[in-house]
């Protein structure tokens, strides 16, 4: 049976290799063999990607009382960013426990571009989460049910040996 007929969308890519340098994960983005590989750093966002592989969703927030927007009580950023764009001070990490959200919008990807690591077709969804100032883009592992804006979703993670070490380690399910 082809995977496309099952309800669960599979990760079909290779595990992304990384090396830890200066506390950051530097991932391999192969182009043409070993000498043609890009070594791309997750930099100060390494805790996010590392967190996914441990089943944790980490976001950042601004706690600077003098920030004109957050006034020290910033909402969470997801994707995270290390520095606040409004006051330029470093933000702090916070784990979102049992992450849930609702579908803000979505599309059904019939076919992706070359090199796609998710088995098409699948729903690409944008998730609205309480207390998060951004809307995070991701993919849904359920493929066979029709979905609509406002549907509730919960986060799932590819962890341990299953981890891809990329943003695809976060997925959503109905």
């Amino acid at each position: 049976m082809s995977g496309a007929t099952t309800d669960r969308v599979q990760f079909i890519g290779d595990k992304t290799k990384y090396k830890e340098k200066g506390g950051a994960w530097v991932i391999d983005l192969p182009r043409f063999g070993e000498v043609g590989t890009h070594h791309h750093t997750y930099g100060m966002l390494t805790p996010y990607f590392k967190g996914l592989t441990q089943g944790k969703l980490l976001a950042t927030k601004c706690v600077n009382d003098n920030c004109p927007i957050s006034k020290g009580k910033g909402e969470l950023w997801l994707p995270p960013r290390a520095d606040c764009p409004d006051c330029h001070k470093p933000m702090i990490w916070e784990e979102i426990k049992n992450p849930v959200g609702e579908i803000f919008t979505y599309t059904f990807v019939e076919r992706g571009g070359s090199g796609l690591e998710i088995q098409a077709p699948y729903y690409q969804i944008d998730v609205l989460m309480k207390g998060v100032c951004t809307i995070v883009k991701g993919y849904l592992v359920n493929r066979n049910r029709p979905i609509k804006i406002g549907d509730k979703v919960k986060a799932g993670f590819r962890t341990g040996n299953e981890a891809s070490n990329t943003c695809l380690d976060l997925y959503w399910e109905l």
Binding site: T107, V109, E110, R111, G112, S114, I118, T134, I135, L168
Partner: protein
């Protein structure tokens, strides 16, 4: 909530006026093995110098050029860094300085913006602006991946590797927020591809029907095949100059005003803000919209609108003296890479209020011949055939859009689109049922939009008849 400081909203002002006097282009094709890239740019350059009724010998005009600005979207596609140097040398412009600009789909518009600043500032009296893209060296699915590298590589590119998916989620949201009938999107595809039928430059002309569009394969739900532009090859150019030179070179010079706006690469990172109002709008116009958005947990610009387009229009309209676009503009070229982006743009540029974009298309005012009234629409859109019908050789696109507006203002639609020899030049035969899409009633001002990504960079330009 994002708030602007007063200084952020300064209205741009050229230190001296900027004029456009001539433009040229290739035809546009999915694949163009007959010509190398430099040879294509020469076609556009030659047409610009030789076929715009300029009052000097083409080589004399070339002797006036001080500076060149080049637009190319992606080194990936050309597989050649510093293409600008190859093109510049090929056009015989060494040792003049040139610079390349890259702002995604808005590259052509940004090249015009950068070129205009060289005239306005006094750096140059005569500037060549020329753009290109060659997207036929790789298969479409790899081309899609290349384009998708213009999404965030850490958090979004891996999620689809096809740009239509990032647009489709906006289409879905816009559709549900405003109750858009998919037939309205299909109507846009039919209109723009239909206009392309009359252009010898067009890549995807077609006399389609709404039913045909809706029966097409889905690319990314809800966008269907005929609602998306295609990979494209070609070049376009425009010559900018000072007021003094403009009147020496042509009897039909055109003033150029342009400004830009930018917004985050990741649509979901757009934080809510108040709508920057255009000169004809009042905050009370949007009281209901804000409430409706709140009910649907929406926000402005959210996924529904393009903050960068609105910001660019906010600046450019005031710069160009556009007080009410539907009254002051005689035509527009939108960046219709997808039907949905055409629809979304009508609110952003104030041809209608936000939330009423669908009604605007239904009103027929975006047609040359309003299907409702049988008369000319108030602001016909994409008479060139747009990106859906004619081209999206990305680095050339904004320049192509501006050129088509300029030719319309000059009353030269028929000259460039109706001459059988122009069709023959590109190996085509002028259709027997060809129709002139020249705007009637002496158009004075036209607008073009040049747009990148999911709205990351947008320039709005206004061209004004100056004779």
């Amino acid at each position: 909530m994002i708030k602007f400081g007063k200084g952020n909203l300064r209205i741009p002002k050229w230190s001296r006026p900027v004029y456009a006097v001539a433009c040229g282009m290739t035809d546009f094709r999915k694949s163009y093995p007959e010509k190398k890239l430099e040879e294509l740019t020469m076609m556009a350059f030659r047409m610009m110098l030789e076929e715009n009724d300029l009052k000097m010998d083409p080589l004399e005009i070339k002797n006036l050029i001080n500076f060149a600005v080049y637009g190319e979207f992606a080194d990936h596609f050309q597989d050649q860094l510093l293409c600008e140097a190859k093109v510049h040398d090929y056009l015989g412009l060494d040792l003049l300085y040139n610079m390349g600009v890259k702002t995604g789909g808005a590259t052509g518009g940004t090249a015009l913006l950068a070129g205009a600043t060289t005239i306005a500032s006094g750096l140059s009296d005569c500037t060549l602006v020329l753009g290109w893209e060659r997207m036929d060296e790789v298969v479409t699915w790899t081309g899609n991946y290349y384009i998708a590298t213009a999404a965030c590589k850490d958090f979004e590119t891996r999620l689809a590797r096809i740009y239509a998916s990032y647009y489709a989620s906006m289409a879905r949201r816009f559709q549900e927020m405003y109750g858009v009938d998919e037939k309205v999107r299909a109507e846009i595809a039919v209109k723009n591809r239909g206009y392309a039928y009359h252009s010898p430059f067009s890549q995807q002309p077609g006399k389609h029907t709404v039913a045909e569009v809706l029966a097409g394969d889905i690319v990314c739900d809800p966008l269907r095949f005929l609602e998306c532009c295609a990979m494209s090859v070609g070049s376009a150019s425009m010559l900018l100059c000072t007021e003094e030179l403009a009147y020496k070179l042509t009897d039909k010079p055109v003033l150029l005003y342009t400004a830009g706006g930018s917004h985050t690469l990741r649509t979901g990172d757009r934080r809510p803000m108040e709508i920057p109002l255009l000169p004809h709008e009042k905050s009370s116009d949007y009281e209901k919209l804000y409430k409706d958005m709140e009910k649907q947990k929406g926000r402005w610009p959210g996924f529904e609108s393009f903050g960068a387009t609105r910001f660019a229009a906010y600046l450019c309209y005031r710069m160009a003296g556009i007080n009410n676009p539907i009254e002051d503009l005689d035509l527009i070229e939108t960046h219709d890479a997808f039907t949905i982006s055409d629809l979304q743009t009508y609110g952003d540029v104030g041809l209608t209020l936000y939330g009423e974009e669908q009604e605007y298309v239904r009103s027929g005012d975006c047609y040359l011949k309003n299907p409702k009234t049988g008369r000319q629409g108030k602001c016909p859109a994409n008479l060139s055939g747009g990106l859906l019908g004619t081209m999206h050789a990305v680095g050339a696109t904004g320049i192509f859009s501006a050129s088509e507006v300029m030719w319309q203002l000059q009353g030269k639609y028929d000259k460039f689109h109706g001459d059988p020899k122009m069709w023959e030049r590109f190996g085509k035969k002028k259709p027997k049922d060809w129709e002139s899409l020249q705007i009637q009633g002496k158009p004075k001002k036209g607008c073009y939009i040049s747009h990148a990504g999911v709205g990351s960079h947008v320039t709005v330009g206004v061209l004004e008849k100056a004779w």
